[in-house]
C-alpha cells in the first residue's frame, strides 16, 4: 500500500494540518508520498521531505497550480493518485474543495472528515453536526479521504529525508482563474461561529475588567461572550449574552471566567467540545460541566493565561 497525501500550503510554508494528515496516513500504514502542487513551492517540498514517515515528495511546480484551483489541481491528483491505495488531504477549505473533484474523476466515493482510522479501509467520521459518529468502510480501489486535523496528533515536522521528485504533468483546464484574496480581518469572530469562546460573568465585577478577556480572546482568535448576570449588570451589551435566552454556542473550546453556571447559561454552551471554568468559588456549579476547572482569582489567572499563550 502506498498513500498519497496532498500537502496543504501557501507556496511558502507547509501548513501544520499536513502533519495531522500524514499521521492519519501512518495509522493506515504503508509508504507515504506527499504531493506538493503549487508555484515556486520548492521550499514546501523540502519541508515535506523532512516530515517524519514520508518516503517521497512529488513536486508539481507550475503557474496553473499557484492558487490551488481545483479545476487544475484535481486532474493532476487524479492522474498521479490512480496508482495509490489511498489519497488523503486535510479537511481544510482547499482539501474540501479539491478532493471530491478527484474522487469523482476516479469514479469512487469519498469519505469526508475522518476522525479516526479503524483499519486500512474503515474509518470513523462525524455526521449530523457531530451528534452521531459513523463508521464507514470503503471498497474503492483508491480510497479518497479528507482528514479532520483535530482527530490526529501531528507527526514530527523533522526527522524524515525523502527524495523530492519533480512532476512534469501540467493540467490547465482554463475554466477558472484566481482574482484575489482577502485575509481575515483582525476583528474577533462572531460568537456563534467562533471556534473558541471566552465568556465572563458577574465575577468580572465591571465592564472595564472585560479587557482581560478581550486580551485573552485576541491571543486565541476567540469571540467574547457573557452570562446574563454580566449583561444585566450592564458590564457588556446584550448581544454578547450566551445562554438559553441568549446565543447558543458550541465551540471547540469554551472558557467560562467568573461565571457561576446558572442552568440557563449552561443551556447555551453545554455542547461545547471542551469547557474550561475559572472561578474562585470551588462550589460553583460551572465546575460540574467543566472538563478543566481552575479554582483561582480570575484577575490573576486570566492575565497569566494570556501571557502563557
Amino acid at each position: 500500500m502506498t498513500i498519497l497525501v496532498i500537502a496543504e500550503h501557501d507556496n511558502k510554508v507547509l501548513a501544520p494540518a499536513t502533519l495531522n494528515t500524514v499521521a492519519a496516513a501512518a495509522k493506515i500504514g504503508g509508504d507515504i508520498h506527499v504531493l506538493v502542487a503549487g508555484q515556486g513551492a520548492g521550499a514546501v517540498a523540502e519541508a515535506a521531505a523532512k516530515v517524519a514517515g514520508v518516503s517521497k515528495v512529488l513536486l508539481a511546480d507550475n503557474a496553473a497550480y499557484a492558487h490551488q484551483l481545483p479545476e487544475n489541481v484535481a486532474p493532476l491528483v487524479a492522474e498521479l493518485g490512480a496508482g495509490y491505495s489511498h489519497i488523503l488531504a486535510a479537511a481544510t477549505s482547499n482539501g474540501k474543495n479539491i478532493l471530491p473533484r478527484v474522487a469523482a474523476q476516479l469514479d469512487v466515493d469519498q469519505i469526508s472528515e475522518i476522525v479516526s482510522v479503524e483499519s486500512a479501509d474503515t474509518f470513523k467520521r462525524p455526521i449530523y453536526a457531530g451528534n452521531a459518529i459513523a463508521t464507514v468502510q470503503s471498497t474503492a480501489a483508491v480510497k479518497v479521504i479528507t482528514v479532520r486535523a483535530t482527530g490526529f496528533d501531528p507527526v514530527a515536522a523533522e526527522g524524515g529525508s525523502a527524495a523530492v521528485e519533480a512532476v512534469a504533468a501540467v493540467h490547465n483546464a482554463g475554466t477558472s482563474s484566481f482574482v484575489g484574496e482577502e485575509l481575515a480581518k483582525s476583528d474577533r469572530p462572531e460568537l456563534t461561529a467562533a471556534k473558541i469562546v471566552v465568556s465572563g460573568g458577574r465575577g468580572m465585577q465591571n465592564g472595564d475588567n472585560f479587557k482581560h478577556l478581550y486580551a485573552l480572546a485576541d491571543k486565541l482568535g476567540a469571540a467574547v461572550g457573557a452570562s446574563r448576570a454580566a449583561v444585566d449588570a450592564g458590564f457588556v451589551p446584550n448581544d454578547m449574552q450566551v445562554g438559553q435566552t441568549g446565543k447558543i454556542v458550541a465551540p471547540q473550546l469554551y472558557i467560562a471566567v467568573g461565571i457561576s453556571g446558572a442552568i440557563q447559561h449552561l443551556a447555551g454552551m453545554k455542547d461545547s467540545k471542551v469547557i474550561v471554568a475559572i472561578n474562585k468559588d470551588e462550589e460553583a456549579p460551572i465546575f460540574q460541566v467543566a472538563d478543566y476547572g481552575l479554582v483561582a482569582d480570575l484577575f490573576e489567572a486570566v492575565p497569566e493565561l494570556s501571557g502563557s499563550l
Binding site: 477549505s93 473533484r101 464507514v136 467543566a290
Partner: protein, 249 residues
C-alpha cells in the same frame, strides 16, 4: 440564462437527532424533515439572480424519496419555476447524486448550477465538487458572493482565514456558504402559485445512471459522553492540558 438548483431533503435543523439502539443509523421516524439550510440559500440566490434579470428560468432538482416533493414545492414557493424529482428510496452517496445531477444537467443545459455546500445530515461537502468534475465545469465552492457578468461568474469563497475570489467561465457550479444571503419566507400567494408549477418525476434508471457505491456505513454511534472533568492546579497545567490532552490550542 437558465439556473439549476439542487436541493436535499434532510432532518430539520432544529431537531436533535438520536442514534438508534441497534447502531444502524439515526432515528428519523416521525421527525420533521425540511430543505437543507444551505440549499435554501442556493434557492434564494437563484431567485435573486432572476429578480435582477440575470436568470430567466430556475429549475430546482432533488434526488430523494417521493416525499421530497414537499421540499421541491417549497422551492417552487420560494420562486423556482419548475421542479424535477429524481426519485430514489434508498440513500445515495454524493457521487451517485452527482451522476444523477450530471444527467439532468446534460438534459437541461443550465448556465449555472447552485448547490448547498453540504447537507446537514451526512455533512459530506462533496456533491457540488463532484458534479463539477463530471461536467468539467469550473467550481466556486463555499460562496459568500456571486456576481454574473457576461459569460463568466465571479465567486467570492469563504476559505480558511479569509475570502478568495475566483472567476469561472460559464457554465459553472457554485456551492453556497451561510453568509451568501438570508433566505426569504414562502409567502402565502407564492405557496398557492407553487401548486400550479410543473413538477416532473424521473428515476435513476430512466436517466441511465448507476447508483452503485464504494462506501458502506458499518455502524452509527452516539458520540462519547462528556467525561467527568478534572480540576487543574495552575494556569500552566491548564495550558498543558488544553494543548496536549484536549488538543484545542
Amino acid at each position: 440564462m437558465k439556473v439549476l438548483v439542487a436541493v436535499k431533503r434532510v432532518v430539520d435543523y432544529n431537531v436533535k437527532v438520536r442514534v438508534k439502539a441497534d447502531n444502524c443509523g439515526v432515528d428519523l421516524a416521525n421527525v420533521k424533515m425540511s430543505m437543507n439550510p444551505f440549499c435554501e440559500i442556493a434557492v434564494e440566490e437563484a431567485v435573486r439572480l432572476k429578480e435582477k434579470g440575470i436568470a430567466t428560468e430556475i429549475v430546482v432538482i432533488c434526488v430523494g424519496p417521493s416525499t421530497a416533493q414537499e421540499q421541491l414545492r417549497t422551492a417552487l414557493a420560494l420562486g423556482a419555476d419548475r421542479a424535477v424529482l429524481v426519485e430514489s428510496a434508498e440513500e445515495l452517496t454524493s457521487l451517485a447524486v452527482a451522476k444523477l445531477l450530471k444527467a439532468v444537467v446534460d438534459k437541461e443545459q443550465p448556465q449555472l448550477v447552485i448547490l448547498g455546500k453540504q447537507a446537514i445530515d451526512s455533512d459530506n461537502n462533496q456533491t457540488g465538487q463532484m458534479l463539477a468534475a463530471l461536467t468539467g465545469y469550473g467550481q466556486g465552492t463555499f460562496a459568500s458572493k456571486v456576481e454574473v457578468s457576461g459569460d463568466s461568474v465571479a465567486v467570492t469563497r469563504e476559505i480558511d482565514g479569509g475570502a478568495q475570489t475566483v472567476s469561472l467561465k460559464l457554465p459553472a457550479i457554485v456551492t453556497t456558504d451561510l453568509r451568501l444571503n438570508e433566505p426569504r419566507y414562502a409567502s402565502l400567494p407564492n405557496i398557492m402559485k407553487a401548486k400550479k408549477k410543473p413538477l416532473e418525476v424521473l428515476t435513476p434508471d430512466a436517466l441511465g445512471v448507476s447508483t452503485a457505491s464504494t462506501n458502506k456505513t458499518v455502524k452509527v454511534q452516539a458520540p462519547a459522553a462528556r467525561s467527568a472533568g478534572i480540576k487543574v492546579k495552575s494556569v500552566a497545567e491548564l495550558v498543558e492540558k488544553l494543548k496536549n490532552e484536549a488538543k484545542v490550542l
